[in-house]
């Protein structure tokens, strides 16, 4: 069955419908990863978004649940060039189409994903509607324009705190939509991780039970997270234990300490972003997924200094907080998908924690 993606500027892309047969409105973004579609679809940071995969062959190696980054897919829709007819990999338990159907995720196959990517790159991220009926385009465009996407963190963060692992080091994870591999990366390094919902009061982290705090990634505009920002501000002021911020967590720490964030034209979503560590001059290839960034001119030099920058566009990729054991990064040291080159950040963080 034919389906269409209508963008808010009126562009229409045609494809064959896959997955759930329902209409959705979402923010349309693109990801340039050549592997890791399951990790992307199940990353809570994609809540509210329809993801265009620029790599044209999706589903080649099927999927296995152990690779999921959360319990379910969070993407609103997927836009792909071609879905593999026959998947092949020794771990594969399922075809990607069955997975999308099971979780009621709609999508389009056979799309000109390159053209769409170029349009998003040139015009910036846009909202769009996936539908089978384009008889009344004006109405659809109005509907898209009227649709607002906000406060996504609340929908992806858990409601109850829970603990995993039984390692020696006790870490508190502030969950704004954390990827499973953040937790796994800590567990692999002999930690016990307690996961707290996004609206948890800062006091819960400061009971003395934990020796380090991780602020997780998550979806949407960081400015939406008013409550969390207040709590993080308190953590900045009162916590005497090391803090590691990842992606949204990095932005929230920035906002909590007076810096500003802004929306990037079309974001960074892919496995190939070069990030330079200004201290060593070394460059790491990082996995990224963010639509917002911290404005470097808004950083108070008495509070934090830029530790990492993006080689491509010079945007802030990491901050070191002066007089505090706080490191935050815009990229994803937990990878999944993408390069594992920056996983050393967990080691460095835990080294401080264990001191």
């Amino acid at each position: 069955m034919k389906g269409y993606l209508v963008l808010e500027n009126g562009s229409i892309y045609e494809g064959e419908r896959i997955g759930a047969n329902k209409d959705v409105i979402c923010e349309v973004v693109f990801n340039t990863s050549m592997t890791g579609y399951l990790e992307i679809f199940t990353d809570p940071s994609y809540a509210g978004q329809g993801v265009t995969m620029t790599y044209p062959l999706i589903g080649n190696y099927g999927l296995t649940r152990e690779d999921q980054e959360s319990k379910k897919p969070w993407v609103e829709a997927v836009f792909v060039h071609e879905i593999a007819e026959m998947e092949s990999n020794f771990r594969s338990k399922m075809h990607i189409l069955d997975f999308l159907k099971e979780y009621d995720v709609p999508g389009l196959e056979g799309m000109n994903t390159r053209k769409l990517t170029k349009e998003l790159r040139n015009a910036g991220t846009m909202k769009g509607k996936l539908t089978s009926d384009i008889s009344n385009i004006d109405e659809i465009i109005q509907e898209i324009k009227d649709f607002t996407i906000s406060h996504l963190v609340e929908s992806v963060s858990g409601e109850e705190k829970y603990t995993c692992g039984d390692g020696k080091t006790k870490i508190a994870l502030f969950d704004f939509g954390a990827k499973q591999n953040i937790i796994n990366s800590l567990l692999e390094r002999d930690c016990e991780v307690t996961v707290f919902p996004q609206d948890t009061s800062y006091q819960e982290f400061l009971t003395g039970e934990f020796s380090g705090i991780v602020l997780s990634n998550g979806p949407g505009n960081p400015e939406d997270c008013e409550v969390a920002i207040q709590n993080i501000k308190k953590l900045y002021e009162e916590a005497r234990i090391p803090i590691l911020g990842i992606c949204l967590g990095h932005q929230l720490m920035g906002l909590a300490t007076g810096a500003k964030t802004y929306k990037l034209k079309y974001g960074h979503r892919g496995p190939n972003h070069p990030v330079k560590d200004l201290a060593t001059g070394r460059v790491c290839i990082t996995s990224q997924n963010h639509g917002y960034a911290i404005d470097d001119t808004s950083i108070n030099p008495d509070i934090a200094e830029v530790s990492h920058i993006n080689i491509n566009d010079g945007t802030v990729e990491g901050l070191r907080y002066i007089g505090h054991d706080i490191i935050t990064v815009q990229y994803h040291p937990e990878a999944c998908p993408g390069p594992e080159d920056s996983s050393y950040l967990f080691d460095e963080f835990l080294e401080k924690v264990r001191k």
Binding site: M34, N60, A84, I311
Partner: protein, 1066 residues
Amino acid sequence: MPRNPGIKKVLVIGSGPIVIGQAAEFDYAGTQACHELKKEGIEVVLVNSNPATIMTDKNMADKIYIEPLTKKTVEKILEMEKPDSILPNLGGQTGLNIAMELYEDGFLESHGIKLLGTSPEGIKKAEDRQAFKDTMEEIGEPCVASKVVNTYEDAEEFAKSIGLPVIVRPAYTLGGTGGGICYTMEELEETAKSGLHLSRVHQVLIEKCISGWKEIEYEVMRDKNGSCITICNMENIDPVGVHTGDSIVVAPSQTLADKEYQMLRTSAIKIISALKIEGGCNVQFALNPNSFEYAVIEVNPRVSRSSALASKATGYPIAKVSSKIAIGYTLDEIKNEVTGKTYACFEPVLDYTIVKIPKWPFNKFLTASRQLGTQMKATGEVMAIAPSIEQALMKAIRSLEENVNSLELEKLKGLTNEEIRECLKQVDNERIFVIAEALRRGINVDAIHEITTIDKFFINKIQRIVRIEKRLKTEELTKELLTTAKKMGYPDKVIAVLCGKTENEIKNFRKENRIIANFKMVDTCAAEFDATTPYYYSSYDEENEADTKTDKKKILVLGSGPIRIGQGIEFDYCSVHCVWALKEKGYETIIVNNNPETVSTDFDIADKLYFEPLTAEDVENIVDAEKPYGAIVQFGGQTAIKLTKALTDMGVKILGTAEVDMDRAEDRELFDEALEKCGIPRPKGETVFTVDEGIKVANELKYPVLVRPSYVLGGQGMAIAYNDNEVRDFINEINKTEQEHPILVDKYMLGKELEVDAIFDGEDVLIPGIMEHLERAGIHSGDSISVYPTQHINIENQKTIIEYTKRIAKELNIIGVLNIQFIINRGNVYIIEVNPRSSRTVPYISKVTNLPVIDIATHVILGEKLKDMPYGTGVYKQSEYIAVKMPIFSFEKIKNADTSLGPEMKSTGEVLGVSKVFSEAILKAFIASGVNIPYKGNVLITVRDKDKIEMLPLAQKLDNLGFHIYATSGTAAFLNDNGVEAEVVQKIWEGENSILELIGSGKLSFIINTPTKGKHESRDGFKIRRLAVESKIPCFTALDTVEALYEALEKGTKEEDLTPVDIGMI
């Protein structure tokens, strides 16, 4: 940190002649390196023995030595030039080995010369089997269970301990020369012994066989700060067991989940960090398809064939960035020239797929084994880019120019299902077609996977292609079906056959329905950033990204496709020079080619690069989009010439010699008419279609006769027949493939062969020089030693040659270049062939005469006149240097290939020897060709009866030089009777102390063996020649070649007495 200011003068070592395992990719890498170094203001000294390369061009380096790539010669050049550094990692294994030898014996240190890029310790850790294994163990990276051994006894013991099958890999050899999988102890004995012999350090690795695992490669880059990136990963469709150079390869990997992809990527980065690589590097892995278990197979601490492929696959210029790193830059300081916005420090992402297919020379070696294994056999490769695997695969298939346009092979149709199942077990060059045929017969994906161990993902892709065949045969051709077929990569020609229509009907239907090829850009970043690279591939997705607007006149230059015997790197040289000349004249240049190894497919060369198959339909798509003013076909070898008619039909103006006139050179009857008109004699001959006609003509002409198909390359299918039976055999062989044109039967004339490349502008001719072949007619010109200027031709004959050249060029209305082969028989000059195009000899004659032949020809093609140029007309002034071009063969790579020379070309590359003294030039050429010059020792002579008389004076000379001669009884008696001492050796069938034992004993310096007629491999001569190749003993099959060797030896000149010549000084 910017570049190291201490680097002021650098020696770049090239990779030498094209051989199997080392082809044009190093010309591409070397050219980029020279270009970058010069751009940085560094003085560049270049040494490379291969004259057909672009890197040995005058404007590429400040000093250019086309000299033997041996330690002695390079030392001499270093002493003369005194560079401060050597760039060793861009000249393939050859360049790296020489640099390491110079380092190891302390020469570099004592002369204060640095090795740029990776440190010698790092190179050693990667290259030396044991050091590599130890390093991997230290960093916890798994290797395949293996052991380095120096004796056969140790090999046997270790193989017993890990169990068969095992793989034997000799250390420090090209393309795995001499290695192989051994399933039995007998095989192990044979392979290990030959491997030990071939290895420079007499070392082989015995390794657990992991056939069937996935073979994955990563191209990695590291700078001195330790920043690491991976440029590209690639997956071989053929699992471990087939050399990666002989595998069909896709990029990026298709069947790896992110977990596996990252696991291997992390491992690759860990490895190059441990080896402290500075520059590009290639890491090969084997991955168990049923677990996360993997093993590091090999690391190449240099640019390689794979890095050329990865560069073209992603748009990331690996050699260029490697050179910049070598002189001190870090990755974050180097701009990504594709986007102009981002830096070299990022990882390319693709939004298309790449398929590479090797080009094998089996059509040249009918007796050779087509089986693929750990010994690479391909001479070249094609690459295709498309949004789907199916489309890329189909594009690659037709890029091979094997007259096959889909996955259907005629000869498989007659086989039974059982036979097809059997064929599936064969790992050979036709396996992909057998899989398609099996699927057509209903053998399912699982069964095929079971037999071939090829991943089901790929078999399914083939199945999807085959399925369309059936639909096209049975369904009505709708817009939807046609669109699907085009997206699967089907050319109109095949669609037409399958649905019983004409190609034109399909094309028209397509155009009516707007099913047209659109061009997409290769931009390194999957459209994330705006890119400006004019590097395109076709797809059937909407939106054409090719920016076709320009104020300039556009000219299409057709490339020459994959490197193959008969059409090599020299045509790439010509295409690139043509492009440069056109650009200088203000034209917009568009190049079409599909060979990822070449300079012409570097997106920096032409204004636009279309990476596409060179077929009429694919070229027409480009013509439709670009609407060029004209096309130049005469520089792209036979590949481009073949497209002349199609281009003319499309309404594209052929610049230079017109299509009708080209045809007059190629069509036998028209050509005869033209010669007759000019009063130029040629050997008598007729055209025939059948065996009976052939025998009749042959008897009229009187034996021997030359039998060959028309319109061929490199003398393919050409043979000399001495009797009716042979005519029958040869014509039957030719007719195995359907012939559009008649077969030619000519009187075979014995005589001196000469060759001329000339430029003609309609009025005047310019001849750079006359070249003389040292081997007489009957041996393909590409396989002959060629000398410029002529050494044995009188003035009268030279005058006739010039006169004939002028006459025939004028008669054929040549505009641009032409190549003519002459023969002198009993004092008379005959023309045997005219090629209305550039030839194999153009690069070398350009270099030794200092005449920019292609440049001039391009100007002539654009309408300029020779008399208005500063080069004069007639024969160009003779150089005071003598240049000897010597063919290079890759016989040791191809099991069971007959090494005897004849009318069909067999050489893969060439080297040049340059000196003011003929004997020195020829000595240099022999040294450069790898012949271990024998100043004394033992020679085996076994010649056919009719060569005995001619051989006598030669044997006499060798005897005088102090060589001890062995010969079989007849020859020995003949020699002894005539006063030349010769020791008798038993013929093969005579049993003990036979020739084979003598060859195996290693006592011989060289062998003279003239082949008896016929191509039967069972003959003794064939066995002698093969054993000689496998024992690395030079074996000359033409007496003229030995005569040339004698000239080199006669004066007793040694390599150390020779002076390297800077070509720029000529």
